[in-house]
């Protein structure tokens, strides 16, 4: 195709045209399909997008129309964004693992007219909900598997929509020009995308981000980390999440780098190894999972291998981070580290697909300091950033060489950050959102007249200028004795133990702090196997006395740690229990992004919480659960509650000694 | 004290002082090692695909070499040219090995399907006896000379002067090593990349499953025995070039036994590495320990003793899967 002349650089379709012109033969998107990596250059992507865009137009899609995008990370779905934006419409990516009702709410609220989905599963959900979605006119699907016999009056195959677009181009020479003019007419202040946040409470809210929001924010980020068209990244996180929208679409188009889509969620590890991305993002749980996986595998390795592994990891722990930070390190140490790189770190990074990574980010949750340090010590430039949907991701980030496990870095260029009197972190930035879609009240509550946005997080600035996030602002409470209770802070400390997957603590306006613990089935199961502990179910393993003993020792360690911190010392854990079931998004206990819905959990397990504060040592509970197939059922268990010793703070114990 | 000295110190001093000689020893060891590997590979292939320990592997070496030499001497008067005769005799011999494979499959393996392993083993002894008798009947029992030159195998030697010393490589040994390596690599590529190779591996892995996907036992058996025949021919040529063609050549097959003890009957890589290891070690032992301490001739038994000692410590062999007793 003929690449049109410059159309400006204010919107993503405009940038796409620039990319097709400047980097026409460079790969833009790759996808592994039927075992082979297919790739599309920027020129080809522009062609695909234009065909799709015109096809959608012929179906009636026009300026201001909302188009839902539902599915896993597929190049064809990313192209929908640009295709819709080119027509002046607004794409709305939706979490594909949501149940039909959740999807229906978002589509209904946004008055979506078109939905582009991945496969039969999503088509079924939409058809099931079609009565509630009168304004939904057309459904376009990418994978035709199983859809052959469906009624196709309002159902279209992606390829046939593109073919319709191509037909327009072929019959009318003006079509291409008109499309180009429409793209050129796009303005930076237009709404680029609406991202629905899967909030921990209440209905999801639609965050409207303009082209300007996204483009300025990601341009700053690209400069901050020197990202250009040579980067490679793997798209595997939900498309509806702002992070993926930024990393795999906004940032990719702005910098011109290549996005690689794995075959499926299960093949991410293998595919990442094959691609070896240079830029990557993963939430802490992914890094945790990979580390656990490696450690489990090393348990089965030969003695020789294990020794070598332990020896060099230990050495990396001593010098690795200093080398990565560019500190002064002796030549001998560098050489020894190089040997380690050859024998251990290199193969390890290769195995995880990190061998070419220049910048890796983690965010969303606090990462365990041990885990963070492990990856940095083997030479992975892992950094933390802080952001949210409303800020187009980037609020603060760690500059190269200034990395601390417990901070989220310094404010990004053009971003102002302040701590409100309430302790809440607030920011003002070019990336700050336009508002919530059809929800002015919420917008007013969140964004002040002067443009300051409430993050909802409580945090403090450290002396080095780095921001440290403590907890959700609304979750920070007080015990009856007045000491500060920051549940997340305590929970994260516990979650850093590999045996513990999830923790929920209680204590606001109570006498003392109590905790629900979820064990990590992989880590604990493996441990059980090695120690010949038989178990038939999660429930049985969770209730095992040996498991309780291990968890108790972890809780004890956390209490010791807390006693060292003057502000937190009052909130040591007095009582805990190991929960008889895994917290599960299907039961509504977690959000789709795996965050605990605290209030819901408190309500659901009210009898257990009551038992905490009445002093009972065990409690029989019956819990309703939803199985994978959607059937309801119950599980019952008698859950043991254990008491813990608490420690006095150093200051207090010093006083105590003096008094004797 | 003196014994200790000659066991623990003297050999190493010698290796160090006469490095060129040490290299010579290594080379000799390598040459016999690759040949052991080849033969062991013949055993392994047949065992993997049919659970038969093929006692006849040794005699197949002799039979192949005899056929080649016999056919050649029969053909020379007709075609009048050594090389042309060899060029005709070679494919004919391959044809004979293929016919042998077919014959074995049709007359021994197929009727005996389902019989205990030991019966099949004894049947291969029967094949051995038959081949000895048949070979003597057709080609006569006297020693023959391998048609080295007619086959174009170089016979000169290459000299090096490493470390200011002297190293002599016989060209036919170099040929043997190169041929063995080429053969082994093509065999590995064949096994791992081609559909037939995959079928052979499949059959070795699970019999029932192989049958259920339509892999035909007869086809694979013929193929595997034919490959064993080709290996036998190759071994026969190079070993015959070194030591002449006679029924005594059969003994070389028994050199493969310790290799199998070491490498395991089912491991292709075990056969290759085990063969080379045994070739090297027995030569080194012979020169530095065997001759001074035992008056030589340790090569006949060293490999067995070595394999036994290894098995004491690693019952599964060097490359076998760990044996886990399931309760």
């Amino acid at each position: 195709m003929q690449v049109p002349p410059s159309a400006g650089m204010d919107t993503f379709p405009q940038l796409l045209i620039r990319n097709a012109r400047d980097w026409g033969d460079r790969p833009a998107y790759r996808e592994k399909d039927l075992g082979i990596w297919q790739s599309w250059t920027w020129r080809e992507v522009l062609d695909e997008v234009r065909k799709l865009s015109l096809g959608l137009k012929s179906l009636g899609c026009k300026e201001g129309d909302k188009v839902a995008v539902i599915g896993a990370n597929r190049p064809h779905l990313y192209w929908v964004f640009a295709a819709v934006q080119a027509l002046g419409g607004v794409p709305i990516p939706v979490y594909s693992d949501s149940v039909a009702e959740e999807i229906a709410y978002v589509l209904g609220h946004a008055e979506v007219r078109f939905a582009v989905v991945e496969d039969q599963e999503q088509v079924d959900k939409l058809l099931e909900m079609s009565e509630k979605l009168p304004q939904l006119e057309h459904i376009i699907y990418e994978d035709p598997k199983g859809l052959r016999d469906y009624d196709h009056t309002r159902l279209h195959r992606y390829l046939s929509v593109q073919a319709a677009g191509q037909a327009l181009l072929d019959t009318d020479e003006q079509t291409a020009n008109e499309w180009f003019e429409a793209v050129k007419a796009g303005k930076p202040e237009d709404v680029a995308v609406i991202l629905y946040t899967s909030g921990t409470t209440g209905r999801p809210k639609g965050v409207m981000l303009s082209f300007n929001n996204l483009i300025v924010a990601v341009q700053n980020a690209n400069e901050f980390d020197n990202l250009d068209e040579n980067a490679d990244t793997v798209a595997y996180l939900p498309m509806a999440w702002v992070g993926d929208h930024v990393f795999s679409y906004a940032q990719c188009i702005t910098a011109g780098y290549c996005v690689n889509c794995p075959e499926g969620p299960e093949t991410v590890l293998i595919d990442r190894k094959e691609i070896a991305p240079t830029y990557m993002f993963a939430p802490p749980r992914v890094f945790e999972g990979m580390l656990t996986h490696i450690m489990v595998r090393m348990e089965d390795a030969s003695k020789m291998k294990k020794k070598l592994f332990d020896y060099f990891l230990d050495y990396a722990n001593q010098v690795g981070e200093r080398i990565l930070n560019g500190d002064k390190v002796s030549l001998f140490a560098r050489m020894k580290y190089a040997v380690g790189e050859f024998c251990v770190y290199g193969p390890l990074k290769n195995e995880m697909g990190f061998s070419r990574v220049r910048v890796a980010y983690t965010a969303g949750e606090a990462i365990g300091p041990e885990i963070f340090k492990f990856y940095r010590s083997i030479g992975l430039n892992l950094k933390q950033l802080y952001g949210q949907t409303e800020s187009s991701v980037f609020i603060t980030s760690q500059p190269d060489g200034q990395i601390y496990a417990d901070t989220v870095g310094v404010p990004m260029p053009d971003v102002e950050v302040k701590i409100a009197d309430s302790g809440e972190v607030m920011y003002r930035s070019p990336g700050a959102f336009l508002g919530y879609y059809k929800n002015d009240d919420a917008t007013k509550d969140t964004k002040t007249e002067e443009g300051w946005v409430h993050t909802g997080d409580a945090g403090i600035f450290l002396e080095n200028g780095h921001l440290k996030i403590i907890d959700r602002a609304k979750d920070v409470g007080k015990l009856t004795d007045g000491s500060m209770f920051a549940p997340k802070y305590i929970e994260n400390k516990l979650k850093f133990f590999p045996n513990i997957k999830e923790v929920v603590t209680f204590g606001n306006e109570r006498d003392y702090v109590c905790a629900f613990v979820n064990i990590d089935l992989v880590a604990v199961g493996n441990w059980a196997e090695r120690n010949n502990i038989a178990y038939a179910s999660y429930q049985e393993l969770a209730a095992h006395p040996e498991v309780y003993k291990t968890i108790q020792s972890h809780v004890d360690q956390v209490n010791k740690d807390l006693s060292q911190e003057p502000v937190m010392a009052g909130a040591q854990i007095k009582r805990f229990l190991v929960l008889h079931k895994e917290l599960d998004p299907d039961d509504g206990e977690l959000t789709r992004t795996q965050k605990v819905r605290r209030n819901f959990v408190a309500e659901r397990y009210a009898p257990l919480i009551e038992a905490f504060y009445t002093g009972e040592t065990s409690k029989h509970v019956v819990t309703e659960v939803v199985f994978e197939d959607g059937r309801q059922g119950t599980i019952e268990a008698t859950v043991e509650i254990r008491d813990m010793d608490t420690y006095r703070t150093d200051a207090m114990s010093a006083i105590g000694e003096a008094a004797e | 004290m003196e014994t200790l000295y000659s066991v623990f110190i003297d050999p190493f001093v010698q290796m160090f002082e006469l490095p060129d000689f040490f290299l010579q020893v290594l080379w000799e060891g390598l040459v016999s090692g690759v040949l052991y590997s080849l033969i062991a590979l013949g055993f392994v292939l047949i065992f993997k695909s049919s659970r038969i320990f093929n006692f006849a592997q040794g005699i197949m070496v002799v039979f192949a070499a005899l056929s080649l030499v016999g056919l050649h001497s029969f053909l020379v008067p007709y075609v009048g040219n050594e090389f042309v005769a060899a060029a005709i005799a070679m494919p004919l011999t391959l044809g004979i090995m293929y016919a042998l494979a077919m014959g074995v499959e049709r007359m021994v393996l197929r009727p005996l399907v389902g019989q205990p392993d030991i019966i099949l083993f004894m049947a291969t002894i029967g094949i051995t006896m038959f081949l000895i008798g048949f070979g003597e009947f057709v080609f006569g029992g006297e020693n023959k000379v391998m048609i080295t030159e007619a086959l174009g195998i170089p016979t000169g030697s290459i000299e090096f002067e490493p470390f200011g010393g002297f190293l002599l490589l016989e060209e036919k040994d170099v040929f043997a090593v190169v041929m063995a390596i080429v053969l082994v690599i093509s065999l590995l590529v064949f096994l791992n990349k081609s559909a037939m190779g995959r079928a052979i591996r499949a059959l070795g892995d699970d019999h029932t499953a192989a049958l259920s996907v339509g892999i035909s036992l007869s086809t694979i058996w013929v193929l595997v025995w034919f490959i064993a025949g080709v290996i036998a021919l190759a071994t026969g040529i190079v070993w015959g070039a070194r030591a002449g063609v006679s029924f005594a050549l059969e003994v070389i097959a028994y050199k493969a036994l310790p290799v199998l003890m070491l490498g395991g009957l089912e491991s292709v890589s075990g056969a290759i590495i085990g063969g080379i290891a045994i070739g090297l070690l027995e030569k080194i032992f012979e020169i530095y320990w065997g001759q001074p301490l035992f008056g030589g001739n340790t090569e006949t038994w060293f490999a067995f003793i070595f394999a036994l000692i290894v098995l004491l410590f690693r019952p599964q062999g060097l490359f076998g899967e760990k044996i886990i007793e399931r309760v």
């Binding site: 075992g35 | 037939m196 996907v213």
Partner: protein, 272 residues
């Protein structure tokens, strides 16, 4: 898009209309005087899912072994695709279009998933042995063709993530799926499944049921399956034949069989 449950008559009529793929007539099989199958007749029609059920030792697996040529029945006539069968070998059955899976998975445990499925193409490799060994080009091109087909199956059964994993290390449920994939690689007309859900948990059973239906529906493969989970049998199958002590005691659509008194006595009654 709900479909009304068809009436019993309707189901029976549909079954009647189908063409017969495999027909067994008075088949008997014995091992040294012990009768495993006695005088059994039934047929399998094109495009249907046919279940063979019965208590342990009823002769179900022997029945499958007869169909795919592992066993030779002493008596009876077997007709496949209109052709009367004389002597039978498993690899002949495969080339005629009969593939199967086993009660206790029979996979090549040391080989990767991909190699296992590729092995399923053994009889579809057209180049003969000599070509395979000597002439690299065409054999290689053919290999690529087969690989494409195999990748489609991998995609169909959603096992991309274990493509390179040795199957011996896979969990049982996935092994069963690989075995199904290997059977599908043979592009069979008739697929025999011997307890496809044995030893699976609920979720795995559901996955497997879905795959079986998809295979039947989208690939048009006729399926005969042995299964113990009655729920699965009743949900999946078009027609059911019930064996007991090597004899046929009932044959019909699931509803019929379920209400057959002899079946209830012999089988359902015992297990519930």
């Amino acid at each position: 898009m709900t479909v009304m449950d068809p009436t019993l008559e309707e189901v029976k009529r549909r079954a009647e209309e189908r063409e017969v793929l495999l027909d067994l007539e008075n088949v008997s099989l014995s091992f040294g005087g012990v009768k495993a199958i006695t005088n059994i007749s039934f047929n399998i029609k094109k495009g249907e899912i046919r279940a063979i059920i019965g208590p342990n030792g009823a002769g179900k697996t022997s029945m499958l072994n007869v169909i795919n040529g592992f066993y030779q029945p002493q008596e009876g006539v077997i007709t496949f695709n209109g052709e009367r069968r004389s002597s039978m070998k498993p690899h002949l059955a495969v080339s005629q279009g009969i593939a199967r899976t086993f009660q206790n998975v029979a996979l090549f445990k040391g080989m990767s998933t991909l190699d296992n499925i590729m092995a399923g193409r053994a009889t579809r490799m057209k180049r003969n042995m000599v070509w395979q060994m000597l002439y690299w080009g065409p054999a290689q091109r053919e290999e690529i063709e087969h690989r494409k087909k195999v990748e489609e199956i991998i995609d169909f059964l959603e096992i991309q993530h274990i493509r390179r994993t040795p199957v011996g290390t896979l969990p049982y449920g996935l092994q069963k799926r690989v075995e199904l994939a290997r059977a599908l690689a043979m592009e069979p007309e008739l697929l025999l499944l011997d307890e496809p859900m044995a030893g699976m948990n609920l979720e795995e059973k559901e996955d497997m049921s879905r795959f079986i239906l998809d295979v039947n529906d989208q690939l048009g493969t006729t399926i005969a399956l042995i299964e113990h989970d009655m729920g699965v049998v009743m949900d999946l199958s078009d027609r059911v034949v019930v064996l007991d002590y090597g004899r046929k005691i009932a044959d019909g659509v699931p509803d019929e069989v379920q209400s057959n008194q002899e079946v209830i006595d012999a089988y359902l009654g015992l297990s519930h």
